[in-house]
Amino acid sequence: MATTTEQPSVTIRIPTPLRSYTNNQSIVEVNGATVQAALTDLIDTYPALKPHLYHDNGDLRSFVNIYVGDEDIRYLEGPQTALEEDTEVSIVPSIAGG
């Protein structure tokens, strides 16, 4: 990860089912001024995550729930939602099993 970037440093919380793609890390530090930039940085580090989050055409898959703090980005600015230093971004899984 670049250390000389001017982009804010943020954390991304990884849900249990995706941790096999992040060396079992539950929290990953990335840089990005928007959700999209932060996710791009995440995928640059862990490329195997990409098909689980994005369509081939580059759009976020419709059922992927991304939260900035406690807010669903669908109710903010979507992938263009701006991030500040130390913001917490979460990839929230759907609810499985009974």
């Binding site: 849900p15 096999s20 059922f63 929230v92 609810i95 009974g98």
Partner: protein, 324 residues
Amino acid sequence: MPSSLSPHPTAPGPKATRTSQVCDAIGDTPLLQLHVVAQGLPEGVSVWAKAEHLNPGGSVKDRPALAMVRAGQRSGAFDMAQDTLIDATSGNTGIAYAMLGAAVGFSVELALPANASAERKQLLRAYGATLHLTDPMEGTDGAQRVVRERVAESPGRYFYPDQYNNEANWTAHYETTGPEILAQTDEQITHFVAGLGTTGTFTGVTRRLKAHDASIQCIAMQPDSPLHGLEGLKHMPTSRVPGIYTPNEADAHVTMQTEEAFAMTRRLAREEGLLVGPSAGANVAAALRLARTLDAGRVVTILCDTGARYLSESFWENATDTTS
């Protein structure tokens, strides 16, 4: 199903001879033939859906919930007058427990991930259940951990059915859903397709069908990705695997993409008049995919739950809306 649960007094008079408890309305659901979405199938191939969303609690989970409560009563593990029922749930089993608790008169506590839909949480509260909302990042695996901790902290307070490891979960389907499907198809079913969550539906129905005729093909479906939108279904390679799950009993395993399931869920509402949830859409999409490969046969699948509890979700988005 007849009921042995009756702490609430049964009303006297003619009513007592009719259905007198909501538990008695569980099961015996219709088996519906799909028409519009099944157009273009080879002659002699049909697809049928067991309308489990018409159970009084709105899902297939009414059956195992009732069976687990009864098994607890029978074994003595559940004293309804003293014990509180507690379990982890993604929603539907919890709704069934909460409904039964209200109908029969026992207390219910449920652990479910905090990101369960608003409708589900409201339903559970409407039935009077107490909710423990758990870390959304850990899904129902996290909810199971919270339940185990609470049970360990308060010995003797709880009856913990543990739906993921309770034999009565799958035997409910062995004893009711499976025989109903055999009767409703005049024993002509050739293929059964169902998604895996706790795996109770698939395991119980499959064992019953195979006991009747080992050549009936039983196909298990699960999401194609660990991150998916098929609420209630489990991606087994990345989940805590239920103790009742026996993968080698399936004749085949198939996967389902969330987007394909959402599209079928919309079609079932608009073209068949069946308002069901995404796991039902996934089941039907998998059943149709299989049916297209057959020369002859009757394929049966499950409509797991009602779509009413997903109405706040975006996948329904309706391109036909107009504003004036």
